[in-house]
């Protein structure tokens, strides 16, 4: 069953027909063309699909589109919207935290929430914050470094 909903994504309102029981991930990717949000598993196990909903990192594959109505959704495309990279994005590039990069946007979104809540997270706080996201390329070492660098203001 399709249903018409209004979603606020990256500060813009979108009216779009969605499956009543469908997940937000598919709507972002296929409906709105926001392909920075990736599917790694579809079962809440990898974090590639992470977006912010009202500032909190969620797995978009596990959230019903209908429950995202009336809330502020931010995807990776919502960062650097003015053409200037977010300090996290800069730091991920400069520390070598990006290898295949498929997990990267999910990590950046999780880190975005962390840095909005803590100015100067220590290593344990960073590691625990990103423990819901999997990366198979980097061993997380440079991801942790990137987040720490961004926290220090780049």
């Amino acid at each position: 069953m399709m249903q018409l909903v209004t979603l606020e994504v990256n500060g813009e309102q979108h009216e779009i027909a969605v499956e009543a029981d469908g997940a937000l991930l598919a709507v972002l990717r296929d409906g709105l063309g926001l392909i920075g949000t990736k599917r790694g598993c579809d079962t809440g196990g990898c974090g590639c699909c992470t977006v912010l909903v009202d500032g909190r990192a969620v797995y978009s594959c596990m959230m019903y589109t209908l429950s995202a109505q009336g809330r502020k959704i931010t995807t990776i495309e919502g960062l650097a919207a003015d053409g200037k990279l977010d300090p996290l994005q800069e730091a991920f590039v400069n520390t070598g935290a990006v290898q295949c990069g498929y997990c990267t946007c999910g990590f950046i979104m999780v880190a975005k929430q962390l840095l909005s809540e803590t100015n100067n997270p220590d290593e344990d706080a960073i590691r625990h914050a990103i423990a819901g996201n999997l990366c198979r390329c980097t061993g997380y070492h440079k991801i942790v470094e990137a987040i720490r660098l961004a926290a220090k203001g780049g």
């Binding site: 920075g36 990776i76 070598g96 295949c100 946007c105 625990h128 198979r136």
Partner: protein, 776 residues
């Protein structure tokens, strides 16, 4: 530091800028106009004959545009391996795109393409399949017994092959031994866990030519295998190179069913067809083969190997695919060739079972061997009181020795001893705390392991593609476009190959861009595998850049009134050697070559010479001259909780003879990622299956555990030993794989050091440790 301007620097990967804002280039993002959604019907049974199939109701469903059953596929047996010729005698051709017999749970039996994904899913439910179930066997030892189910017609006892290796006189070697050590070492089935799912878009045109976009590690392998299984000439398939893919690690090194099925569906529907695997499908597409290794070693009183014997039983799974090559690499590079011993013998057995397919996975057969060898060396050193570093040094080959795998070569650059010595020093090996240190229930332990011999590509391996090619083209703004068919799977050649081209051309790395192409336009290249790209593709890129530079200098001759041999390029300027004032920018030389024949300028007409005209371009297509060996050593500190059996890896020091570092941050990233996979292999990763049906019960990330940022050590150090390989591009050789091979035995040895429990089977779970402590 070296004298190079670009080689050896840490540079950001050029593709990272695109990836942090979303990464448009992944194959999973591709959509074409009119594209259909393809999906596969899979067998619930591990072994069955398809007695009948009725797809008429599915075909009648509005929106269904094409459907493929076993009756619709070419009956061309094939091996899925990308990197060997399709008709090579070295591969076992035991697969069909869709077979009338299924041999593992989850094997595809039909495929549908429809206008929407949900229609395609619905159509699958309408296909009626009559399976005639056959007895299945999952244990390789049982599969070899008399009376076991025959999995492939005519393969007696399900044994695909019994390869062997021998050197010297094994009997005499054991007679000469003062001590004999033996043990059985078992390793489990694990999955590569690349993050981007396997996906394929196939687009057949009106003449039946198929263009294919896929997340795979070998562009030309995809073209060749796809054409072969479809019964088409290779020129009827065009594989388009993605700018990057979301990981591979070997898991995208062979033809998956989705690629030929998408092509067949598209040929039928004459519309583009896209198939994207679910994570469950990814899990059951490929894996590292489980192995059981029996290892026996004879040692003289003074600590010399007198004989080494090993036997390996490899579960080849339902289809042979990579298994014959995996077991070959396993025997040479995992077991036998790394340390010097005059008498050696190995016997392998490759067995079909009704388990899901094996395949390639970073390290390719070596981890199963290295775990046995490096664990047993630790047992030997412990029992006889040798220092593990000294013992390995004593048995290691030396620089200048004949290459153990091919007497035609020498170990021209070889720094294993330096890896051991520098690694031990950085780790503080000599001053490591006494075994079982730590008060209370948590015990610290220290362990090491090594990989004395490895590869930089596949030269010398039977029937394996190894050549590479490149095109370097200079632009009128002084920049260069570099094209090769190599696939960046996260491995970093997007940066490394640009650095190599920039260094050779004498321009900045920012001025070189890796651009894409397809099998129509690019020179043939081998796969991204076997730690080969920096070395082998690097040689090709350097050669193409050198050819472009040669042409550049020829054109500059008239401008600088000097002969090309007296010219050089530095920092983007062509200049007379030794006279830096006499120089012109590269851009000006290229402009001259590209300019119309006669230029009218404010100063009047300017003549250029006919011979200078044309794009400045260099191409190459060649095989590397050798296969130089990297080497590595791993040092690990763990903490073992004797109450819970939990292991934490606290610290890792890894030393690797890399020949020459090209991109430091990229090289460190390889090591850190390899360690994550190695810790997973050692402590937690394990594919498990329902005993009756063979269905995978760990086909998602909730049940398949791999290390997160919390389980990884806080301290990871990489040491790169630069031995300047004479045949390598600027001295470089291979890196990618040993860093995943060595962690498991190093961790096992550290655990033994901590709590005195020797675990000879992976993964080393808390239960195994508690059992070893006598607590359960």
């Amino acid at each position: 530091m070296n004298d190079y301007s670009v080689i050896g620097r840490s540079i950001p990967r050029p593709d990272a800028w695109e990836k942090v804002v979303g990464g448009r280039g992944y194959p999973v993002n591709l959509r074409l106009p009119g594209m259909l959604h393809g999906t596969l019907l899979r067998s619930p049974h591990p072994h069955a004959r398809i007695a009948g199939m009725d797809a008429s109701r599915a075909l009648a469903l509005p929106g269904v545009k094409a459907l493929i059953t076993p009756a619709d596929v070419p009956r061309i047996p094939y091996s899925a391996t990308f990197f060997k010729p399709a008709t090579s005698a070295a591969v076992v051709r035991d697969m069909l795109i869709l077979d009338g017999t299924v041999r593992y749970a989850g094997q595809p039996v039909a495929a549908v393409a429809a206008t929407t994904a949900s229609i395609a899913e619905h159509a699958l439910e309408l296909i009626e399949v009559q399976y005639e179930e056959l007895p299945a066997v999952f244990d390789p030892e049982e599969a070899m017994r008399e009376g076991a189910p025959e999995i492939h017609a005519g393969v007696r006892h399900n044994v695909i092959g019994r390869p062997t290796y021998s050197l010297g006189d094994i009997e005499a070697g054991f007679s000469a031994a003062d001590h004999v050590f033996e043990g059985v070492y078992e390793t489990q089935r694990v999955h590569t866990c690349y993050m981007e799912p396997r996906v394929c878009v196939a687009d057949a045109d009106a003449q039946g030519r198929v263009t294919v976009y896929a997340s795979v590690q070998h562009l030309f392998g995809l073209r060749e295998k796809l054409a072969f299984v479809l019964g088409l000439p290779v020129s009827s398939v065009r594989a388009v190179q993605p700018p990057y893919i979301g990981g591979g690690f070997g898991g995208k090194l062979d033809l998956a069913p989705i690629e030929p099925l998408a092509a067949l569906l598209s040929l039928r529907a004459r519309r583009p067809v896209r198939i994207e695997q679910s994570r469950y499908e990814d899990f059951i597409t490929s894996s590292r083969h489980p192995a059981k290794v029996y290892l026996k070693t004879g040692i003289s009183r003074d600590g010399q190997f007198t004989a080494r014997y090993a036997r390996t039983l490899l579960d080849a799974s339902a289809y042979a695919s990579e298994a014959p090559e995996v077991i070959r690499v396993h025997s040479r590079f995992g077991l036998m060739l790394g340390y010097r011993c005059p008498n050696a013998k190995w016997e392998g057995t490759l067995v079909y079972t009704n388990n899901m397919p094996g395949g390639a996975f970073r390290g390719y057969g070596a981890p199963q061997g290295c775990f046995a060898v490096e664990s047993q060396i630790d047992e030997i050193c412990e029992k006889l009181g040798f220092d593990p570093v000294e013992f390995r040094l004593k048995h290691a080959p030396r620089c200048g020795d004949p290459h153990p795998s091919n007497a035609a070569w020498k170990l021209d650059s070889y720094g294993f001893d330096e890896c051991l010595v520098r690694g031990a020093e950085r780790f503080g090996w000599r001053s490591r705390a006494k075994a079982a240190s730590g008060r209370g229930v948590k015990k610290r332990g220290f362990g090491m392991a090594a990989q004395p011999l490895w590869v930089s590509g596949c030269l010398g391996a039977p029937d394996t593609y190894e050549h590479s090619g490149a095109i370097v083209k200079l632009n009128t703004d002084g920049s260069a476009d570099l094209a090769t068919a190599t696939i960046d799977i996260g491995s970093g050649q997007t940066a490394v190959l640009c650095q190599i081209a920039a260094e050779e051309l004498g321009i900045s790395v920012e001025a070189v861009r890796l651009s894409g192409g397809s099998t129509d336009t690019l020179p043939v290249d081998a796969a991204t595998h076997a730690s080969r790209t920096t070395y082998a593709s690097g040689i090709a890129v350097k050669a193409a850049a050198a050819a472009a530079k040669k042409r550049l200098l020829e054109v500059a001759e008239t401008m600088l009134e000097a002969s090309a041999v007296d010219l050089e390029v530095r920092e983007g300027m062509v200049r007379v050697k030794g006279a830096s004032a006499h120089a012109v920018p590269v851009a000006d030389v290229v402009k001259r070559a590209e300019s119309p024949f006669v230029q009218i300028t404010s100063k009047g007409t300017m003549q250029t010479v006919l011979a200078e005209k044309g794009t400045i371009i260099g191409t190459s297509s060649l095989a590397p001259p050798r296969n130089p060996s990297p080497a590595s050593a791993q040092f690990i500190e763990v903490e073992v909780d004797t109450d819970t059996g939990e292991v934490r890896v606290l610290r890792a020091v890894y030393a690797h003879d890399i020949g020459r570092v090209v991109n430091l941050a990229g090289a460190e990233g390889q090591v850190e990622g390899g360690l994550q996979q190695g810790i997973g292999y050692a402590l937690m990763e394990n594919m498990r299956f329902e005993p009756e049906t063979g269905a995978c019960v760990t086909a998602d990330f909730l049940n398949y555990k791999m290390p997160t940022a919390v389980e990884m050590p806080r301290s990871i150090e990489s040491i790169f030993v630069e031995t300047d390989e004479p045949s390598g591009p600027f001295g470089a050789k291979g890196l990618a794989e040993p860093c995943l091979i060595v962690p498991a035995p190093a961790i096992a040895n550290a655990i033994y050091n901590a709590v005195g429990v020797r675990v000879r089977s992976l993964p080393i779970t808390p239960e195994k440790i508690l059992a070893g402590l006598g607590k359960i």
